[in-house]
Symmetry: C2
Subunit: 310 residues, 2 copies
């Protein structure tokens, strides 16, 4: 069994067709077609249904796909290990966490690795990818990321592997914003103003959870994907209001550049969660260290959160 066949199969499954897969892999279409034919002959089952438009996996193909991905992952790890390269840890996270929290954690990791144990197992090469939640989920599922840090507002069904921190969310705006001068802010008043949204879905989800679907249906939302810094600057100019975790806006709140809107009730607490694949190989030790450091960097430790809640 040649891993090229598996690579071809995974590419076809991901791109939805042989031609697209061939282009992605740098082969001629006929070559990928032949590779799949050989794969099927080798396995003894057909893994694809060739439709007029594209291809779909058979039941056997669906069973094969996760194994094929795992085999390719394993081959990659095997190569690195045999060469004696440092293990590689591909971390993914959303911008709001990459903005303030994660750099602290990673810095602590580098410091720790450079200090006491600079042996052969000193640590892993870290590759950090910042992207939207949906992109992270896709990349994690496709095996392109080993470890993902995300905010979890408790409204999604996916179970996190571990909770590593806690935080709260605020509705924030510039001190010059009309709502900032009020004693209290009601949901109806919020609606009259523009929302800046950093991550599609997330903000709406929490606002709907807090105020109900009807109220939010008509609110004007502006999406500013990919740069929390840009969003904060826009906000600083008195433009719109936004929903962000305390972690992200702590400095701005402290220095008075932004203010939290005086809502009658606090918003839902959120947690920082980590997800990883069970098979990390040599990078496992680094992940454990990293999770420990992350828990130590918890911006709002569980005890504090519980105390404030009670």
């Amino acid at each position: 069994m040649d891993s090229r066949y598996l690579r071809a199969f995974v590419a076809v499954a991901e791109h939805g067709g042989i031609s697209a897969a061939a282009q992605a892999l740098g082969y001629a279409q006929s070559s990928v077609s032949a590779q799949l034919k050989r794969l099927e002959a080798d396995l003894g089952v057909s893994v694809l249904v060739r439709a007029g438009t594209g291809t779909v996996l058979t039941e056997a193909g669906g069973r094969l796909l996760p194994y094929a991905r795992e085999a390719l992952e394993l081959e990659e790890r095997m190569r690195r290990t045999a060469r004696g390269d440092r293990p590689r840890l591909r971390i993914g996270t959303q911008e709001s966490l990459a903005h303030v929290w994660l750099p602290e954690v990673l810095a602590a990791l580098e410091y720790g690795a450079g200090g006491a144990d600079t042996g052969p197992d000193a640590g892993a090469d870290v590759v950090l990818t910042v992207a939207s939640r949906s992109t992270l989920e896709r990349a994690f599922g496709a095996g392109e990321l080993d470890l993902v840090f995300e905010y979890d507002n408790g409204l999604r069904s996916v179970r996190p592997h571990a909770v590593v921190g806690h935080d709260r969310t605020f509705l924030v705006a510039s001190p010059s914003h009309p709502l900032a001068r009020q004693e209290t802010v009601t949901p109806e008043q919020l609606l009259a103003h523009e929302f800046l949204v950093a991550e599609p879905g997330c903000t709406s989800e929490m606002l709907v959870d807090r105020f109900g679907a009807d109220l939010l249906a008509g609110a004007q939302q502006t999406l500013l994907q990919g740069s929390v810094a840009a969003l904060l600057r826009l906000l600083g100019h008195g433009h719109g209001i936004t929903l962000l975790p305390e972690l992200t806006v702590a400095r701005e709140l402290r220095e008075g550049e932004l203010v939290a809107l005086p809502l009658t009730e606090p918003l839902r607490p959120v947690s920082i969660v980590a997800q990883w694949h069970p098979r990390l190989g040599a990078a496992e030790h680094t992940v454990r260290t990293l999770l420990d450091l992350a828990r130590r960097a918890d911006p709002l430790p569980e005890v504090t959160r519980t105390a404030r809640a009670s």
Copy 2:
């Protein structure tokens, strides 16, 4: 990367040479030599040192070996899963456990699988291998076994994955044996008689642990490997004494065919332990069920053992 290269590499590592590996794999020596050359070119490191006599792994080769084994294992599981075959669970155990205890556990597994959930994940095909401890260890290490049940006398350094049962050991002999007629038996008296040994190392280990190395040095030992039944029959004819777990000789003791020698102090308790590879794939569910059943079939549950000990 072709898995044939990995198979060749593992074979060379196991057989200690290219020629032997080629013979084992059914290739010409020159072919295996070329395969390894390609493997090394592919990885970018040399994995073997070609000595005048045989070959030895380089450091990189040592790192590669477990990955190569794992990759071959994974390919095997991938094939089975893609074809829709039932997962396969290769169990290994020693004869003393295969004699009485394990069949009960496996029977319960089959019964349970055939009963309630006869769905697509009904269970795994079980392949049972009975062998000596050393053979089991080798086969487990080489990835030829998924799950191993063994007696653990607590005198070895290997840590078991799970303890699934407890038992005691007895020195037993035929009622017609000279020692069986005595009120008490001392270590010195034991020495004057022949020992039948079912498993090399194990019996001696426990006797040395109990009575000291000096005493046992001169004892006559007859090895009867591979058949507890034959050993018991020989014992039944008044021939020698042996050390066996209660489980194995319970029926014979109950029916008076054999008697436990009246030692002044009880022998060391032993446990039944299980070891398995962390990556079982679809057979994982079956292993969990099996371990549950094994614990339920504990011949001497922990509470009983503790009560008797106190």
